[in-house]
């Protein structure tokens, strides 16, 4: 079997591998290299060592601000989305009639694309702020909280579904035993329900974490014009594409170096996630 299959490498693997090389692997390696250069275009680069990485913190004014904003946004999103999603999941697993309808409604925003979502919320948020005679650009904190509300609207339903699956996995008899032993509902929640759904909590925490950390489309559509409300992904995009003129090569280099740092941060998150889920599996 292996020997015959091995000869079919061109049929089975080459199409995907070719696409993978062109759209990911070669650009990735080029990207690492170019972060140590200044380049107007990809094929006209000049080696500058780690200068770009230093410039991010000395010349560039926006990176640290976006990083801090992204961290704040991520923390607030993780907490609010997970708490609300888990609460709704608790309500929907009480065996009431009509829960399917509510599930459908809460999950629906997750399917709408980021650009469209951003514009829907831009109309609503500006409409509300309009009563006070201002708009979303008036204060950076409006943009920040607008983005949090949008993110909650989009992701609560998704996380809710994962929590429901986790809650339905708790064996019925454990809850019954707790009730017979006279445990109050609150006690049951903290001593039984939450420990039992910890695997779901881990999954949901990391899903909201990576999605918030890498957010781009929603940010661009809702409040992308202001540098003060640009998250990391958008800041990198702007470093590349919003500059013109003589120092373009320099900005491209800085943009690519920012992208490498961004990648390393995401990689660290992914690594921590891998370790966290592995440990959980061993414990079980």
């Amino acid at each position: 079997m292996h020997k015959t299959l091995k000869k079919y490498f061109p049929v089975f693997v080459v199409p995907v591998l070719a696409a993978f090389l062109v759209s990911f692997l070669i650009p990735f390696v080029m990207g690492i290299y170019l972060s140590f250069t200044e380049f107007r275009t990809v094929d006209a680069s000049e080696w500058v060592g780690i200068k770009n990485y230093i410039s991010i913190f000395t010349q560039d004014k926006t990176f640290l601000n976006s990083l801090w904003l992204t961290v704040k946004f991520t923390v607030v999103s993780i907490l609010s989305i997970n708490i609300i999603a888990f609460s709704i999941a608790l309500l929907l697993t009480r065996k009431l009639r009509g829960t399917d309808f509510f599930r459908t409604v809460f999950f629906m925003p997750n399917l709408i694309g980021g650009i469209v979502l951003g514009h829907i919320w831009s109309l609503i948020i500006n409409g509300i702020l309009g009563f006070f005679g201002v708009d979303i650009t008036y204060d950076p904190s409006y943009g920040f909280w607008g983005l949090v509300v949008l993110m909650n609207w989009q992701m609560i339903g998704y996380m809710m579904i994962i929590y429901i699956a986790g809650l339905q996995n708790i064996p019925e008899h454990i809850n019954e035993a707790a009730a017979i032993d006279g445990a109050s509902p609150l006690r049951t929640l903290f001593s039984i329900t939450i420990p039992m759904v910890m695997p779901s909590v881990t999954i949901c925490t990391f899903l909201t974490l990576t999605n918030s950390f890498k957010l781009f489309d929603q940010n661009l559509a809702l409040n992308g014009k202001s540098a003060e409300t640009s998250l990391l992904a958008l800041d990198i995009y702007k470093t590349f594409y919003d500059h013109t003129g003589l120092r373009l090569a320099e900005w491209h280099g800085i943009g690519q170096a920012k992208a490498v740092i961004f990648f390393l941060l995401v990689a660290v998150i992914a690594f921590v996630q891998l370790r966290a889920t592995e440990r959980k599996e061993i414990e079980q």
Partner: protein, 280 residues
């Protein structure tokens, strides 16, 4: 006890109904504004389209014509269908090969595909765009090839996970009966992969259909633009007076197909998304 439970259940219902209203209101606001005349959209976004404010389907006609909506819609549909079909069939084949032919090379391939899942798009954004233009992939067909590359990480990973759990006996029996690997794959293996194939198809379809930055960079905002690009261009492009009515109608037209699709395949979509979340 019984009345207490009934009161509790009713309050749960009340909370759920209020929450549903909150969740549906943004879509409702957009729907309402899509049939209002221009002036009342930015000034009174929350008023009902009554009397002189109501303009019927005028906005939809304008939105459809002005943005050349049909063209963007067809582009998006074409790219999504071809990309998803390509990803599902080709990455399943690659994953089967990688799992069944065990050597150092396939092991490295597996790790590379898995690794690509964690790399954010901004890392390869600039260099990938350059390469796409160099290789003339900046066309509606070319971008399908690019999506195959970007989608391969998660898809190979998910298919591999499932293939590892399938016993090899059936495949070996087919080979003994004189089946070549291509026939074995399509007659025996691929049908077994169906549940994972549905998950992979749904996850990729949602991603490709809604994706903005990649098609914007590679295809631009000209005649090859996709739906998200058309929406973004219409709503942010240029200053001066925007035709808000037409824009609202565009937003409605953009979400309508997704919601209809969702209502029909809800079961698969929810299952697929959860499976993807747990494995990815």
């Amino acid at each position: 006890m019984k009345t207490r439970k009934r009161i509790f259940d009713s309050s749960v219902y009340a909370v759920l109904i209020i929450l549903s209203a909150v969740f549906l209101s943004p879509v409702f606001v957009i729907l309402m504004n899509s049939v209002k005349s221009n002036f009342y959209i930015s000034d009174e976004p929350f008023s009902f389209p009554r009397g002189e404010k109501f303009v019927g389907f005028e906005n939809f006609v304008k939105g459809f014509v002005q943005s050349d909506f049909l063209r963007a819609f067809i582009n998006s549909a074409f790219i999504t269908v071809l990309s998803v079909a390509g990803i599902v069939v080709l990455t399943a084949m690659a994953a089967w090969y990688i799992v069944r032919v065990k050597n150092r090379f396939t092991k490295i391939l597996y790790y590379l595909f898995t690794f690509s899942m964690i790399v954010p798009f901004q890392m390869v954004m600039y260099t990938m765009t350059f390469l796409a233009f160099e290789l003339d992939l900046n066309s509606v067909l070319g971008i399908v090839f690019i999506y195959l590359g970007f989608g391969s990480g998660l898809s190979v990973f998910m298919f591999s996970g499932f293939i590892k759990s399938i016993p090899t006996e059936i495949e070996e029996a087919a080979v003994i009966d004189g089946c070549d690997p291509i026939r074995t794959f399509f007659m025996i293996v691929f049908p077994i992969l169906k549940p994972t194939a549905i998950t992979v198809a749904i996850l990729n379809a949602m991603w490709v259909w809604n994706d903005y930055l990649l098609p914007y960079l590679v295809l631009g905002s000209g005649e090859n633009r996709t739906l998200p690009v058309a929406v973004q261009m219409a709503l942010t492009g240029g200053y001066g007076n925007k035709d808000m009515g037409a824009l609202m109608a565009m937003l409605v037209l953009a979400i309508l197909p997704i919601i209809i699709f969702y209502l029909f395949c809800q079961k698969y979509i929810i299952r697929g998304v959860v499976a993807g979340a747990v494995k990815g």
